[in-house]
Symmetry: C3
Subunit: 363 residues, 3 copies
Amino acid sequence: QSNVTVYGVVDGTFDIINTSGAAGAGRGAPDYTRVQSNGSRLGFKGTESLGNGMSAFFQFESNAKFDAGGGLDVARDSFVGLKGDFGTVKLGNFSGPNRDIASKLDVVIHSDGIGDNSALLGKLGGRASVFDTRYTNSIAYITPDFSGFQATVQYQANENKNIAPSANPANQSLAELGLNYDNGPVYVGLTHGKLTEKNSTGAGTFNTGTDEDVTETRLGGMYKFGNASVRALFAHTKGDGSLGSLKQNVWGLAGTYMVTANGKLLAQYFRANDLSGNRAGVTDLSDTGAKFWVLGYEHSLSKRTTLLAHYAYLKNDDRVSAVSGMAKGYDFGDGSTGIAGSAGSNNDGLKLSGLQVGINHTF
Amino acid sequence: QSNVTVYGVVDGTFDIINTSGAAGAGRGAPDYTRVQSNGSRLGFKGTESLGNGMSAFFQFESNAKFDAGGGLDVARDSFVGLKGDFGTVKLGNFSGPNRDIASKLDVVIHSDGIGDNSALLGKLGGRASVFDTRYTNSIAYITPDFSGFQATVQYQANENKNIAPSANPANQSLAELGLNYDNGPVYVGLTHGKLTEKNSTGAGTFNTGTDEDVTETRLGGMYKFGNASVRALFAHTKGDGSLGSLKQNVWGLAGTYMVTANGKLLAQYFRANDLSGNRAGVTDLSDTGAKFWVLGYEHSLSKRTTLLAHYAYLKNDDRVSAVSGMAKGYDFGDGSTGIAGSAGSNNDGLKLSGLQVGINHTF
Amino acid sequence: QSNVTVYGVVDGTFDIINTSGAAGAGRGAPDYTRVQSNGSRLGFKGTESLGNGMSAFFQFESNAKFDAGGGLDVARDSFVGLKGDFGTVKLGNFSGPNRDIASKLDVVIHSDGIGDNSALLGKLGGRASVFDTRYTNSIAYITPDFSGFQATVQYQANENKNIAPSANPANQSLAELGLNYDNGPVYVGLTHGKLTEKNSTGAGTFNTGTDEDVTETRLGGMYKFGNASVRALFAHTKGDGSLGSLKQNVWGLAGTYMVTANGKLLAQYFRANDLSGNRAGVTDLSDTGAKFWVLGYEHSLSKRTTLLAHYAYLKNDDRVSAVSGMAKGYDFGDGSTGIAGSAGSNNDGLKLSGLQVGINHTF
């Protein structure tokens, strides 16, 4: 029993969702309310000291979507590894450096609800970011900490490789690199990743041709001073192969301020710029981005329990569905409404807003 | 580790199921044996004192259908909340007052096997009770305890709302109210709930028209004296909208008696009366109910471990499938046989019996 | 909290898979790499002393396929039971004596990866062994230990019984018997099981006719001396009913040797002999078996943490798909590649090799 720690987060909110502005299928989408479990999770972890500064460690982490009776799993960061003077090696299913920097710079407490900065990041106008997820079949090496500097390299093995083209295979491999400097009030991170998809005659991840590459580069930082923090994040996504040379920049600014000893005010603004580059059959890429902002207040009742209120607003540009064959339009990230973002629907100009009030409790 | 308690129940029985009496599809249904895991569960819970009489609490509770290797989940009562002088507020997925009163008055130890009183309750001749389940997207307020009096109000938000009619949407919202008096030997409870289903062009919960309401009212009580307890429960279900004015009364009597310090005799009898009211196309609602009784013995080996033997018998009336478009016939509740209750099968007069022998162990 | 122990194994390896030699569908199957979670698991168990030498016990054990974010469940050995002077009775979902003897004699640490001896055992040329699995609806009795002798009898109740023939029902019941002698350096086991499948007009487990029996008999032993162990296992599988009189012998030899205090060398060789007996429409059963060998090294960093490297090689004989209607060809067991073994594919002569390097950590 002493070998394993049971831990987790339970985050329950009452959400009020409003939609407006879309001329197509999104028009008439209902306003509604829900109870949401955001990033609630249940985990099991342990560390064993092996002597000589070396240790073995593991983590099984499950989603806990308790508002709707979801299943338990090992689908959140789950791994086994060794740590020593040489650094850390781990195997499993976990996020890469690109996603980690976005989570670190997010200002909302759960990083998994309607205020999450993943709403706009890495999507290339597409349905879902291929970088803001966890990678199965992962192996990573993390260097020791050199006065705050640390580097990570991660590789996703291609278990589902196929040789002949076939419909919609998960024929994907990936490599990511992350460089971080985290020392006192200053944090700076630079990350880069490349995903390769091959032999997909069907939809594949990008619903385009048989072979695609996507690369993602992110640069971000945070500075803490007094009762405040300021944060900035820039992300550049670029396609290749059947994606043509589609490119997109996304950037954001965020900050927090402790208005009382227990009360934190927070805000963030993100902008997905218009797509650029070339793609067969597409002549006009103007007005294909989106805007997103969040305002929130979080009040700590204890170190483990926080009351929260977040308001998030997302506006799709008026031609967000211009690139045919790609998913059309932006939705919130992990706390998505399900209204925008499905391929084939017309969400040009769709506006989403969400207010959530609730409680976050760690254990 | 001290922040979370791992708890649960493991209930394993060997069940012998017999069927007879049906003239239609149920005829020839086999007698069979099985190992059953009844209400076995695994949970994780915790409470944090926040000072000033206030506390934060959570619970993740999973089914553990270990006789057949089922999945773990947060599909049993799972929630997060705050408790204080003002009462209790909680968010999540959990049972409402109508189900809670039935569970409290049930006499069998697991409330989730072939002797469960949910066999007849709340079904309106229908496939499954919409009240004897857990409600996703729930928010509830429970008053403080006033000398044994306590009230609960629960609301289910309509996350899956749709505006235009569509096939079989879970377009459901619900409110329930419960009043309880629990003081020494006396318990009395009164509960009421209303479920609204809208814009269902397909089967929906009730396989009828587009808009339906169902209301459920339950009144029950228990009195303990010496080594015995007696219990009574009355339930009234009423449809509206596409259900016409279909109504049904269900009532039951139950009791327990400690024959030795560790040995408990238990019995219950429930009767679902014939449907009444009006429904388009149905002229005769006679003989559309069912009878159900249970006899059991439970022997405690310790506070946590009990050996049990239950015999349950259920008889469908001879015209139980008279209302076309509704499910036809009654089965056991959580420990159902799978034989009765499926729409389109003819279970007029079907008799079911089940004997279960096993062990219940809490941890 | 003191009533339940959280325990488990996390086993993560990097696997390199190669295939060659098949003339049919297997030809051109890719070589690939993967991260594999082998027999990783998470469990919850407890024992309560009831006095007089009697105790109640339970176990919920879940898979933890953390390389790919799999679900948690109670699908590994999960049960409740009583133990006393009379022996042990348990109910649930668990392996039987035939599988247990194979696991006990396997030399690789996880018994759930590409070196597992289940690659060849019990398959009768078929898709998957019906004996090397866990049985739902199980009840077992295990005698007390008489100076190392112990007997087990297990029965699987037929919950999914049907009377009229229907397509592909799980209309299965089973009984198994095991005799073990385990005393100091010597272990010997003899097991026997019979599975009966009835009224399957569709594929059923064996994709043959309506009624089948399969019996499995295993005899094996292990002897430990100094730093070494030697092991031998013989298995005989025999069909009846729609399977004709198909028969197969599988046998294997294995051993381990501690080359240092913490370093273990291990090897095993298994051979599935050609099928024999009669089956309608099949005249030649020559060259229908397979060969399998494993070489490995395991280095303990502590009692709970072991580094491992295993190489496994499997060669299907050149006419392994001769019996039409049965699955064709052998794959690794629990760490299967997914390449061989699917019905209808032609894996005559398919060769598979797998190298795995990783870490095994118990908690």
